[in-house]
């Protein structure tokens, strides 16, 4: 298959690369662009470990065709912390509230939390639970993650 040119914004910076058209966004991020922070937990869009933000909304990058991000803006976990200000408040809260154990679901979880709070800075507990319902976590039982997101929303 002929390669195609893909142009999009990645973590605030323009990116252009040639890719095979069948690649998923996850493959492009991890393999072509060498950004391994986005994880593959199932490859079927069921666990949310591969969550990234596309124009601010969450997508499961493992089943998302890379060419569909043409002209759009993608944020991965590598783009969440600020080079100058350090960790994003959500990341800080995850650290401080014990929301991280093995950490494999964490990048996706942080991005789902970000999408939620960007749209709804004062979510109820139920809205928080809905907001991260697509991100499976086996270690934490979710409660400290929910607590962390609540803590950030109280600061906002």
């Amino acid at each position: 298959m002929d390669k195609q040119i893909l142009t999009f914004t990645l973590n605030g910076e323009p990116v252009q690369l040639e890719i095979e058209p069948h690649l998923t966004l996850l493959q492009v991020l991890r393999e072509e662009l060498e950004l391994p922070g986005t994880k593959e937990g199932c490859g079927m869009g069921e666990c949310g470990a591969c969550t990234v933000l596309l124009d601010g909304k969450t997508v499961n990058s493992c089943i998302f065709p890379a060419l569909e991000v043409e002209g759009k803006s993608v944020m991965t976990i590598e783009g969440v912390a600020d080079a100058k200000r350090g960790l994003h408040p959500i990341q800080k809260a995850f650290v401080e509230h014990g929301a991280v154990q093995c950490g494999f679901c964490t990048p996706g979880m942080v991005l789902s939390a970000k999408a939620l709070l960007d749209e709804n800075p004062k979510p109820t507990e139920e809205e928080i639970r809905n907001g991260i319902a697509g991100n499976l976590c086996r270690c934490t039982g979710y409660l400290q993650i929910i607590e962390a997101i609540k803590a950030v929303s109280n600061q906002l």
Binding site: G41, Q91, G103, F104, C137, R138, C139, T140
Partner: protein
């Protein structure tokens, strides 16, 4: 009480920042120059003869560097029984059997090559029911496996899990009430979010480096050395390097075919070979928790004192034998020692079938046994007309008790746990309504001070301190997310009088780290913690010795607090430790500040005849209480309130401890209500998260942890283990609450709405 600067504090996990920024490196993220990708071809049949394998097309595919089959590999054997080989020749015995493997330059080519391998099978009849498989004349899974006195061919493994105390028959006769039931539990998967994988590579001298996610680096090293030896590579070295582990829960307490296949491919190709499981493989080719059929009888006196416990257990071993076949030895623990019961009889049989083979999973048999025991305690209490709360209090374990299995109970907060749960649920007020809402509770005992499963239960620590006061703690322990790194840092820092920020924990490399038997049995905080504390004490002595000279004070008058060495008798005399360290290193005849300590707890192996012995230095107790609402129309069970009280000795880090409890309970609720790996004719038919129902953030109820601190005299700063306890009593607590709500006793996990409905219907029809 002594005031601590590190212990008891809610200190964030040391690697949390790496993880929230996506910088943590997992096995999935590893790449080496020239690395090849391995793929495995599995048998689609549960039992078949391999008549021939044609690999020629796969071998010709550009990019394929090696193709292996059972006939082309050296005789590597693995597993607890050494009844498994990396690639099967002659016969396959379950649907996850590995029959061929390839290494190729990219994963897609490897996948394509696998599809090009043609295997000619002669399908054989198979056996899936362990009770059928136990019968005389049953089809044999391993024809050459013999057992019993006559050494007759059998599917029953030669593992004599049998325990007797007192006289069960007499006690049964003397009991005022006897309950008899059959419980069943099925397979569940660990569901580690990071799938399994490894990278194997050989140096030019045939020494192996294994990048791994094992929970048992030192024992895995031994397993791999055995494989090298079978490959004709004698006197070679094995180095195991752990990456970040994407969840363990016991799944990595053994070594598996995929690891040996990676080693064989790497040796054949002389390239690094990576094997990484897909989620589907993770579901069907890793080893789940054991299914069991549990026949149980318990009796009590008129006033509700337990008289006996009699259990026969049948475990579906699957086609091969991993360490999982030793879970009945841990089941023995609650069977002999949960509540005070003088007469105990227990027999467990592990039976070969053509199903997948099971392994360790958080609780190691304890959740299965406790489900049966503590569900039936409610039945017995009802027969005796006693509130199950009072029944449990009356039979509660006590400090100083010696149990029928010769466990020496040091501290025991079980009564406090039961009371705390009752109070939180307003038990006396709210129980026994039978209006669709109900309360239930269940308790647990688990090893909390190591577990002498092997001849050693030890863990080593090396501590060195650099010029600037950075404390390098090099531990044998394994962190798989639970926070071992942080707890060890807190313990070492506390002992040394420094802050956690001053400590760097290294726990990843067998070339560097001391020996340890592994992250199992909730032993890490206790054993690795005591080890770290011992090493810290020794290095502190060295530091004070050097300081004594330069400060003109005798060492016993010196102490360290917050990185300052000070005199206890003359507060004016103080020096920052950095200054002392530099003086030590730069002085003529200088010395390093370095110490090691190997802690092997004073616990006992169970004696192999009677299975008695003080397995653990101390025991962890807990009680869970739950309020449920059962929808009589749909059979849906909703958890309204969940309380988890645990005797933890001391909470070294309350935040991480709560994380263990929350995570354990969530896993336990899944075990109780939603999770099951469904096998049809030996094949896993739900190998994905759509059909395997792990709890999501919407499903987990709020959980209230209650921490009971009994300050165990043997624990590091009083701590006991808490890794597994969180899920042990969850299922029976929920089952008991369902009974209280609607009057039906569900004896099979998971308690699905279908099962609740069926039971309600049966009850209605009388």
């Amino acid at each position: 009480m002594e005031e601590f600067i590190n212990v008891g504090k809610r200190i964030p996990k040391l690697d949390a920042e790496e993880k929230v920024t996506g910088r943590a490196v997992y096995i999935h993220d590893l790449k080496f120059p020239g690395m090849l990708y391995g793929k495995i071809l599995y048998s689609p049949h549960p039992h078949a003869r391999i008549k021939g394998i044609d690999t020629s097309k796969a071998e010709r595919l550009p990019g394929v560097k090696a193709v292996l089959t059972g006939n082309t590999i050296p005789p590597v054997k693995f597993g607890f029984y050494k009844d498994n080989v990396p690639l099967k020749a002659g016969k396959v015995r379950c649907c996850r059997d590995e029959v061929a493997a390839v290494a190729a330059t990219d994963p897609d080519i490897a996948e394509e090559a696998i599809e090009l391998i043609k295997v000619d099978y002669e399908i054989l009849p198979a056996i899936f029911d362990p009770e059928e498989a136990m019968k005389e004349g049953a089809l044999l899974v391993h024809e050459d496996h013999v057992g019993g006195k006559e050494k007759k061919p059998t599917n029953v493994l030669n593992l004599p899990w049998r325990f007797t105390a007192g006289d069960v028959e007499q006690a049964r006769k003397d009991s005022a009430y006897v309950a008899q039931d059959r419980f069943r539990v099925t397979w569940v998967n660990h569901c580690c979010m990071g799938t399994s994988g490894c990278v194997a590579l050989f140096d030019p001298k045939d020494n192996l480096t294994m990048y791994s996610i094992t929970q048992i680096p030192s024992l895995a090293q031994k397993d791999y050395l055995g494989a090298l030896s079978a490959m004709g590579l004698k006197e070679k070295k094995v180095r195991v390097i752990k990456t970040m582990i994407g969840g363990g829960f016991g799944s990595k307490l053994d070594t598996y075919a995929f690891e040996y296949i990676a080693i064989l491919l790497a040796h054949k190709t002389r390239k690094p070979v990576k094997i990484l499981f897909s989620r589907e493989e993770e579901f069907f080719a890793t080893s789940p928790r054991q299914p069991a059929i549990i026949d149980i009888a318990q009796g009590c006196t008129k006033d509700g004192r337990l008289t006996f416990r009699d259990i026969r257990m049948i475990l579906d071993n699957g086609a091969y034998t991993s360490w999982g076949a030793t879970t009945p030895s841990v089941m023995m623990m609650p069977i002999s020692s949960l509540y005070q019961v003088p007469n105990v009889r227990y027999v467990a049989k592990c039976v070969y079938t053509n199903n997948t083979y099971s392994q360790a999973m958080r609780g190691y048999g304890n959740p299965q046994a406790t489900f049966a025991i503590d569900s039936q305690i409610d039945t017995l209490a009802e027969m005796a007309g006693i509130d199950p709360l009072d029944f449990r209090l009356r039979n509660s374990n006590m400090p100083g008790e010696i149990t029928p299995q010769n466990f020496k109970i040091t501290t025991c907060g079980l009564k406090e746990c039961i009371d705390a749960v009752a109070q939180k649920l307003d038990w006396r007020q709210n129980r026994g309504r039978r209006n669709g809402r109900g309360l239930g509770m269940a308790s647990m005992i688990h090893v909390g001070g190591g577990a002498r499963v092997y001849n050693s239960d030890g863990c080593g620590t090396i501590i060195k301190i650099d010029d600037f006061g950075t404390v390098n703690v090099i531990t044998g322990a394994t962190d798989m997310g639970q926070g071992a790194d942080t707890v060890i840092a807190q313990i070492a820092a506390e002992e040394l009088g420094v802050r956690v920020e001053d400590v760097v924990v290294t726990h990843t490399d067998t070339d560097v780290c001391p020996w340890d038997v592994g992250a199992h049995a909730s032993r890490t905080t206790f054993v690795a913690g005591n080890s770290a504390r011992g090493a810290a004490r020794r290095v502190k002595e060295q530091l004070l010795e050097v300081a004594a000279k330069s400060m003109g004070e005798s060492p016993e008058h010196l102490d360290i607090r917050n990185r300052v060495i000070y005199s206890k008798i003359d507060p004016e005399k103080k020096t920052p430790i950095g200054k002392i360290l530099r003086a030590a290193h730069y002085a003529a005849g200088g010395r390093m500040m370095i110490a090691e300590y190997f802690y092997d707890p004073p616990n006992e192996n169970l004696d192999p005849k009677e299975w008695k012995g003080n397995l653990s230095v101390t025991y962890a107790y807990g009680t869970h209480g739950v309020e449920v609402e059962v929808d009589k129309e749909t059979g849906q069970v909703k958890i309204l309130k969940y309380v988890a009280a645990h005797d933890v000795g001391r909470a070294i880090n309350p935040m991480l401890l709560e994380g263990q409890v929350y995570g354990g309970v969530a896993m336990g609720i899944g075990y109780a209500l939603t999770e099951r790996l469904i096998l049809k004719n030996g094949k896993v038919v739900n190998p994905n998260f759509l059909d395997y129902k792990m709890l999501t953030a919407k499903d987990v109820p709020n959980i209230e942890p209650i921490v009971i601190e009994t300050n165990d005299p043997f624990g590091p700063f009083g701590a006991k283990g808490i890794g597994e306890p969180g899920l042990v009593p969850t299922a029976p607590a929920i089952a008991n609450a369902i009974y209280d709500a609607v009057g039906v006793r569900i004896k099979e996990l998971p308690i699905t709405p279908e099962r609740v409905l069926a039971a309600l219907k049966e009850k209605e029809q009388g």
